[in-house]
Subunit: 225 residues, 2 copies
DNA sequence: CGACTGAATATTGTCTACAGGATGGAACTG
DNA sequence: CAGTTCCATCCTGTAGACAATATTCAGTCG
């Protein structure tokens, strides 16, 4: 089964294949939704989207199917797709679930910790702090997501990771307008979290992550007033 | 906005509409997968399924899309759909997540408990015990699912419920061959759970549910040997 | 003037057709 | 006989067309 060509294994860059259109349509629509170019409640007309993206209706439909099962759009039979309208209740429920998933991830990460992982986490944390210091809000938000994703990766539970990724993205969608404020403190909490994970202290990692995500929830609710 | 006809509100039985084909195809395929009529790893050819179900390929494709995002089939680009093959690792991860979600549900249920809810739970429990006594394995499994679903409903968190429903169904899929054994003890554990919820004791409800689901996991792993 | 009825329009749901890539096997070459 | 190349076949991905259903708006009647 050895390759007969003398080429080293990874030398060929695997030449980017365009991949199915539906996936690119999915990405495009999700981007449009999360950036609020498509507003909650808006009616998504298949032919419009298709025309706008330069494809036929079929890939659009398949993308909408997926967006529907993931909760981004509501698919009313014979009426079409509507961008999901988050309610206060739902946002709160999502935050609850997020706390649950992230907390468990922190615990598992602490249980499976190894040295290089901590190094990477600290690197991410440093970059995030740098972004905050430079008032680079978008950068800070991105680093925040990557940090949490890394913790999730350390947890070593792919199922958990997938659920958390979906929940997180939706939380971030609701939360975006408010997220701007939450800056410095969040990153000191991250430092604490990394320390707890580094010590392999499951209890403390759990507690810190819970406090961290609950803090986020609190800020979210304060905004309503 | 009041109705001008003199008909009482719920009098019209809302006449069953066939609903979108994709949904019925989805149900049919999911049934075929969970019953193992379609075996893990099997290649699902769209035109075959379409012909077999008497519809065209389009609804089949849309159903496969949804099944793919929910983890029942793997959609390899340009190759088609294959029934997902669960690995031991994945089964274990799913059980972990299930424990997490069910445990939280039990806690929330205990927090929001009210009298009639307990009555309903006990009714379900009694029916389940009756099924076990009558060696009605399928009936017992069904009642088990309904009981857990009821607890989830009491928790009052729709997001949590939806995730748990998906995870549960997949766990049951992996678990089906083994589930037969687990009968009586499971239902005494259910009694304990209901008692804890009835007292509004979050701590104890959490502990009991964790023990219950972890017990399930243990049995699952013993089977491997 | 308001409410109902009806047709016209727009949009979805489904089917059929066609192009491109993947798979498997036969023929060919060393 | 082993390995490779090429071809036939099958299947998926995408597009376009048609039928069915919901929505909108104008016209009509009380």
């Amino acid at each position: 089964m050895l390759p007969t060509t003398g080429l080293p294994q990874g030398a060929v860059p695997k030449l980017e294949r365009p991949g199915p259109l539906r996936d690119r349509v999915y990405e495009a629509l999700l981007e449009l939704i999360t950036t609020r170019a498509l507003q909650p409640g808006q009616h998504l007309v298949e032919s419009e989207l298709a025309g706008h993206l330069g494809v036929s209706r079929q890939p659009v439909r398949e993308a909408l199917q997926r967006l529907s099962t993931e909760g981004w759009v509501d698919l009313r039979p014979a009426q079409g797709a509507f961008v999901h309208e988050p309610t206060e209740d739902e946002a709160d429920q999502l935050l609850t679930v997020r706390t649950l998933l992230e907390t468990e991830a922190a615990r598992l990460a602490a249980a499976h910790v190894h040295a290089e992982a901590i190094t990477e986490l600290e690197k991410l944390c440093a970059e995030g702090e740098r972004a905050v210091a430079a008032d680079d809000v978008d950068g800070a938000v991105a680093m925040n997501a990557r940090l949490h994703a890394k913790v999730m990766e350390l947890a070593g539970n792919a199922v958990l990771a997938e659920l958390a990724a979906q929940v997180d993205r939706r939380v971030r969608w609701y939360y975006t307008p408010v997220a701007r404020q939450r800056g410095r403190q969040s990153w000191t909490e991250h430092r604490e979290l990394i320390a707890a994970i580094g010590e392999g202290d499951e209890q403390r990692a759990t507690a810190v992550m819970r406090a961290h995500t609950e803090h986020t929830r609190k800020i979210y609710h304060e905004r309503e007033k």
